[in-house]
């Protein structure tokens, strides 16, 4: 019988998975002990102890190439379609508002507010689902507000000038639709980054990240041009494309998109700085224009007034977006290729491990022994998965059962891991 001729070979066949997956002889030793292989078995295999037996098993184990990681194909449709939701909601709302008769003013106002709130919620769902933006989200509000009403305010504030201002509806529509390219580019970069994290070379990772980042930015810039063009071609009567103000709204998609990208990769501070710059420039312009009304301070409003007179009211948001977007782009290109910038997305998220109720530790199977020790006598031989021990000489019908329950064992192992203590040792 081959088993008696080479007991190690039968052992190897019995624990093939364990030996193939192990990275270290000691890992095999731990697994063997947990499965009930003890010194007696080692002696039968002519080994001094389980450790030297494990070493032989490790040396003799066949290691199949690891199967490639499955690509996340599911929900691709949802990922593509969901970013269009804010734009669709906004368009539907504007269309409805336009259909209401002008005398139903309260109804129009209510519908406008409802539409705005729904659109904002949809934007939050699309952009903030995976990465809460924190203060960057708050800092994104002033530029958005300026894109909607800022031009009119500036026109009102500038003394003695009347300027053509764009339609707020068109600006809102463009902003809502620019969420889609922002989300797509962000997701594209995230996917590419996940693939890049598997490359073995830091230099390769940095170069790949930089290229991928620039490609995404280019894509974003192109995609942001699509909504204004479409609006110009379709020219719906309820969102007339007038003047350059809607274009400034579309341009705001650039810093917002870069900020969303940075937030997704944990660089909230940089994103907040860029958005603060955009909002700051716009607010300074408004403040200077407003200061012109104060006696003796008319000179303060001069530069803004000259600029607006020369290039139109949209020059202020465009300049602000250029400044903020430039800062964000430079920051992203400098910071994102660094591997340490991606620490915020750990392989095993620590938050999951730290989020359990206080009572859980005592019922945790992985803390079997310490629980035994710490809570004096509540000795419950745990559903000791890692300690599972089939008898070394199984009963006749048990051996059959064992050969068929290997799946059961693996699922139990996985369950064990999932239910690990939140405070389990990190290292």
């Amino acid at each position: 019988m081959s088993a008696s001729a080479d007991p190690v070979r039968s052992l190897l066949a019995e624990h093939r998975e364990l030996c193939a997956a192990a990275v270290d002889p000691l890992e095999i030793a731990a697994g063997l002990e947990a499965r009930g292989v003890d010194e007696a078995t080692a002696a039968r295999c002519r080994h001094r102890d389980v450790f030297s037996l494990a070493e032989e098993l490790h040396a003799r184990a066949a290691r199949p190439a690891p199967p490639p990681a499955p690509r996340p194909t599911a929900r691709a449709g949802a990922r593509l379609a969901l970013p269009l939701l804010p734009g669709a909601l906004c368009a539907a709302g504007l269309w409805l508002v336009d259909r209401l008769p002008p005398e139903a003013a309260p109804g129009r106002a209510a519908l406008t507010v409802a539409c705005g709130v729904l659109t904002l919620l949809a934007v939050l769902v699309v952009l903030a689902r995976h990465a809460p933006p924190g203060v960057a989200g708050l800092l994104a509000l002033p530029p958005v507000g300026y894109a909607l009403v800022g031009d009119e305010m500036l026109a009102e504030l500038l003394v003695g000038q009347r300027h053509e201002t764009g339609s707020t509806a068109a600006a809102a529509l463009l902003l809502a639709f620019s969420v889609a390219p922002v989300a797509w580019c962000r997701d594209a970069f995230t996917d590419r980054r996940a693939a890049l994290l598997a490359v073995p070379r830091l230099r390769e990772f940095a170069a790949g990240t930089r290229v991928s980042l620039l490609r995404c930015c280019l894509l974003l810039a192109c995609a942001l041009a699509v909504p204004p063009v479409a609006l110009w071609l379709l020219a719906p009567p309820w969102a007339p494309l007038e003047g350059a103000a809607p274009l400034a709204a579309a341009a705001l998609g650039w810093p917002l998109g870069l900020a969303a990208l940075l937030v997704r990769h944990g660089l909230r501070g940089l994103a907040a700085a860029g958005l603060a710059l955009v909002g700051g420039v716009e607010l300074v312009a408004l403040a200077l224009a407003g200061a012109g009304w104060l006696p003796g301070c008319a000179a303060l409003a001069e530069p803004v007034a000259e600029l607006v007179a020369a290039h139109g009211a949209a020059v202020v948001p465009l300049a602000a977006c250029a400044a903020g977007g430039g800062l964000l782009l430079v920051g992203a290109v400098v910071v994102l290729p660094r591997p340490s910038a991606h620490r915020a997305v750990p392989v095993r998220p620590a938050d999951d491990r730290a989020g359990r109720a206080p009572g859980d530790a005592s019922s945790d199977p992985s803390s079997a022994l310490p629980t035994d020790l710490s809570s004096d006598l509540s000795i419950q031989p745990p559903p000791g998965v890692s300690q599972r021990r089939p008898p070394s000489r199984p009963w006749p019908h048990r051996s059959h059962a064992r050969s068929t329950t290997s799946d059961d064992r693996t699922t139990r192992h996985a369950g064990h891991d999932r239910s690990r203590s939140p405070e389990a040792p990190e290292v």
């Binding site: 009930g36 079997a368 192992h413 891991d417």
Partner: protein, 528 residues
Amino acid sequence: MRVALLTEGGYPYAQGELVAWCERLVRALPRHDFEVRALSRGRQQARGPRRPLPPQVRLVRTARLWGPPPGDRPSRRAARDFAEAFEELTAGLTGDAGAGGGVADRFATGLYALADLAAAHGGLARWLASDQPIAVLEAACRRPGAPRAAVGAGVGDLLAVAERLERALRPLSLDWYAGHPFDPGLGKADVCHAVGGGPAALPGLLARHFHGTPLLVTEFRMRLREHHLSALAGAAGHAVAPSAARAPVRALLAGFQLGLARAVYRGAQLITPGDPRTGRWQRRCGADPARQRPVWPGVAAGELAACADEVPPPPVPTLVTAGPLDEDADAGGLLRAVARVRAAEPAARLLALGGPAPEPGAVPAVRWCPPGAVEHRPASGAAERAAGWAAGTVAVLVDARGGFPAALVEAMSCGRAVVAVDAGAAAEVLGDAGVLVPPGDPVALADACLALLRDPVRGARLGAAARARALDRFSHERGIATLDAGYAELAAGRVAAAGTARPCRRLARAVPGPRPAPGVLATAEELS
């Protein structure tokens, strides 16, 4: 004597590992001054409740092994020095023996060099969170002699490893070693007692490195073994287990665990494994058997014995075992043996203590036992467990998990004759105070039980012997006494060694000063 108790993820936090054990130890030794230095493993634990401290605890200091890295960004020069030392450490981590000395030497050299630099430059954690250690790890994976699994490490794997190492090495950046106005520092302690061999032992190792404080390491679960078991639990059979670390991460972290374990066992003057298996693993990782001294986790043997004496013997022949009865505890064999016993003694029944009744069909052999033959009794707390064990005529222990067989020791303390399956540490614990049967042999198990049921005199004799053995060897008091002796031994050795070099200090120590009022030092609390 001043004992620094070093814990990780446990005492004085109310929730965590070995809390009750540490508390018992501290309360049982009021003669010593304890300073508890705890590393917390998570926000929940750190913000959670703590155990009330007895007056002999003079000082509590905590640090966290979680959250963003503390400290300042290191200077360029410090970063260069850190990188050199870290390179040495990673050479030991990936098994590169180098020109001089072995792998363990390089790891320990790097570790101590990092500690020296961290003390000089004020903290290492921020550097470990930067790009440089990742580059060093990348180079380490490409060195000849690196583990096969580590060769394919991607940037993401290196990031994961660097993050874990940053957390594990945080004790290097602590300010526990030199003295402060409110904290005399680990150098002033007579003994460092590390509960656990992982990061908890690092402060002790460094105190020994900086000041020569002797180190005692208590280990109930060997950290390297735990690491491998959790890795197996995540990886077994799954192509991509949801939470499993990839093979390169496991390999590199296993290398770190091994290096740390070797450094700890080499640096510790006294190592107390909790059971024979842990002792074996420790020796495998370089522990000197001469410095090993087993300290069993123990059970409250005296309390159990007192409670068991108040319970009358059962009216029918009863076998009692530790529940729950499931496949893991090898319940099938036990139930088959019970069926065999009932064939000879129809009145006999089985009582399973603790755990829920098994679901129908969970244990295939349940059909062998007629209804009513098996009773399940939930039992928690000393009194209930003692009553449960005492309600049996013979205790049967088939659970052959490794580690400390606490249920077996409970049964022994309650003075019942014990039949145990010869697996794990059962033979060592039971000795000749009970009957051992070979594993996987229900006939032998049934025969042994029948023999004891039919011979009450022999049963009583074995029970008394088992109780005496449990009280003598496996009570809590026994383990604490061993540790106390270890403290005295280490402190004496220290005083003798330090006496020649620093006679003044020895004189100063000879006259005990007035104890500070309790609570004065214990308020010195710091979250770094």
